[in-house]
Amino acid sequence: MNSVEGVAIASRGGAPSIFLSNITKAYGETVALSDVSLDLRTSEVHALLGENGAGKTTLMKILYGLTQPDSGQIKADGVALQINSPRDARAAGIGMVTQHFSLVKNMTVVENIALAIARTFSLDLDSVRDAVVAASTRYGLEVPPDAIIGSLPIGLQQRVEILKALMSGCSYLILDEPTAVLGPQDIDSLLEVITQLRSEAKIGVVLISHKMAEIEKIADRVSVLRRGKVVSSSLANGITSKELITLMVGEQESGVVLRSESQSHGRDPILVLDSVVVKMEIGGLNNVSLDVRPGEIVGIAGVSGNGQTELVNILSGTLSIDSGTIAVEGATLTQNTPQLLMRAGVGMLGEDRHASAVHALQVMENLVLDCVDNFATKVQLNRKKMLEHCESAINQFEIKATAKQVFGTLSGGNMQKVLLARLFSRKPKVAIISQPTRGLDVMATSYVRSLISKARLDGTAVLLVSEDLDEVLELADRVAVMYRGSVIGVVDGANASREKIGELMAGIVR
């Protein structure tokens, strides 16, 4: 708290007028925010930085009334605020633009804004239109007032969202990862708009982001969240992006990681990616070369959005590559389809467990989805064999569920165990494991990690993609760092320093 208030004097923004103090919020056993305090001022861009799951979005949802804190309070100008809904938030002058826009796609810009601001029963669209034109000139947010939202590019839709928030009278504007959906030109013009809103309209902007470049460019103040706590809050010009990344991913934790010697030395790699290119409007892969040996875990680190998802998708076969090759056991794949990859021995745990399974089906049905034909004698499903298979998996992987339970009713940890059981029961030569412990509690996390270590000892080549750097450092024999769609460097896991990895994550190569 002291440091936060200390900075207040030096900040270029106005006096702090909204205080969030000692906010705590837990979802079940997962603590999303623990005793977080933060203050917001007008005429200031306040960047909120942190990895996925660090609590940024939860904190802002609390401020905007989308969810309620378990404890703590919000004050405006010394008066306690009760924000139970977005409506209360707007009344207190707080607006928010979420990652998923709340615009009606088949209505015009004016109609959409009228929905948000018109308070009378009879709707005078002409006067709303005049107000839209006036406001868009005033804030420097040019929008075509009569265009249908669905026909506008995403950057313009975002402007409409911002304009809508401003026109409902907010003096604080929360932008949740606004640049994640934009291409480079749109990003530049958005950053200009934000700067202008701060300087001319005296708006206090909260910018949730994990892109260093834009934070360096426009933030006045930066607060870093890590695992539900504010680990730093300081003026932006007093801190480097390297320091920020170190804050974001955490200090070296004490204690030596116990890891058996890698079995992989001198063995030929099983999975080899050579100059893989995927061209996309936003993101994509740019000349990725990477190899994984049997009995080795290669961890992928990087600030999220630097090509990790694309890397996983090309290896699951859902994203096709434009050039380069993928080879498994020396044989180059002609095409990266799911069937060919699976036949070659590549197994997959996707980053989104909900997208990897069919919720409406039973546990035992989900367990055999990737090998249905092995469980069918001729065409008839062998339900008895499926049941036995499932029950042995339930025992072996400590899954708390029954075989015939519908998958969608399982807890996150148990869903993940079912998917891991499916992956490992195929005995894959290569296992691609993405965000294995996201959203899991401590027990489930350590169990899942132990399974991954065991696969390594069994001689599986594991490619581990995780935004949790601790996880990567705990498990990986080698750490490959991705930056802007390429592997920018590979560090030996045993003596990888966070400092070195942090530099690579920020794009600094020495």
Binding site: M348, G350, L369, D373
Partner: protein, 300 residues
């Protein structure tokens, strides 16, 4: 009274046969995430092609076979449009229905009714195992003794069924698990179309032995409603078919009673449809649509 009850049950089974076949077909299709509004047209097409072939060849079996071919071809076209090309399923389905109906009406006029005649065959006759209930066409027996258990087995006990249900709920997950989404949907659509075609052919080849304009008379749409009414479960779906058929058979009996002679028959005719509408209004809320209902699937 017992006689009338038996009559009503017996005639219900006949009325329910094409509905049950078509509804089973739609069920298999929808379980894969595809809505086939071509159902009415496929029934119409196979009813016409079936009887036309039977009339030309003199063989009812050849007619049924031709009906199946019609269904398979129509299903293939529909699958190509919706699965491969990703055409809106409402548009493709309604288009198929409109085309099939107009095409068959035109062909019927050119081939059979231009000289004022009408296509006629000697239809299949019921097998009588005693009493009005067990005096049924072979296709009625086949529907309830073979098609119903087969569909249940196909969807809930076969490997293909598990794939169908997976692509209908979450095609992304199925694809990553190595299940060919397009192949599975094609298969489901064609199996579904064959069942619908059987329902259409039953009407001309067994039920009436002739073809007239508007012969399907909305039975496809009723079957469609029965799938939703049945919440994609075979038991409930059959219960819906039974409800419609019993009300329908009942109103046919009522028409014969002298005390109902003053009631316009259109009112009685509307009763079974009214029953379906009420049934849908009661049970059609918060229905558990398949997760990928109406959504074409494409990789990134």
């Amino acid at each position: 009274m017992i006689d009338i009850t038996q009559e009503i049950i017996g005639s219900s089974l006949r009325i329910a046969t094409p509905l049950a076949l078509a509804a089973l077909g739609e069920l298999v299709t929808e379980k894969s995430g595809v809505l086939n509004l071509g159902i009415e047209g496929i029934m119409y097409g196979s009813a016409f092609v079936g009887i036309a072939t039977a009339a030309q060849t003199g063989s009812l079996s050849a007619g049924l076979f031709a009906g199946f071919i019609t269904g398979a071809v129509a299903g293939l076209i529909f699958a190509f449009a919706t699965v491969t090309l990703g055409v809106n399923q409402h548009v493709a389905g309604l288009g198929l229905t409109l085309f099939m109906i107009s095409f068959c009406n035109t062909a019927n006029r050119i081939i059979f009714t231009s000289d004022g005649g009408q296509v006629r065959v000697d239809p299949w006759q019921p097998f009588n195992f005693g009493g009005p209930i067990f005096s049924q066409y072979w296709m009625t027996y086949a529907t309830f003794l073979i098609a119903v258990p087969f569909t249940w087995w196909l969807l809930w006990r076969s490997g293909l069924g598990l794939k169908i249900r997976a692509v209908g709920e979450n095609p992304e997950a199925a694809d990553v698990a190595g299940i060919g989404v397009a192949k599975t949907r094609y298969t489901a659509i064609i199996i579904g179309s064959l069942l619908m075609a059987a329902g259409g052919a039953f009407i001309t080849l067994a039920f009436v032995g002739t073809f007239t304009i508007n012969i399907i008379n909305g039975r496809g749409w009723v079957a469609l409603a029965l799938v939703i009414f049945g919440r994609w479960k075979i038991g409930r779906l059959l219960a819906g078919a039974a409800l419609f058929s019993v009300v329908n058979a009942g109103q046919l009996q009522l028409r014969l009673l002298p005390s109902f002679s003053d009631v316009p028959f259109e009112i009685l005719l509307a009763l079974p449809f009214l029953a379906v509408i009420i049934g849908l209004a009661v049970s059609g809320r918060n229905v558990p649509y398949p997760g990928a209902y109406l959504k074409p699937y494409k990789r990134l």
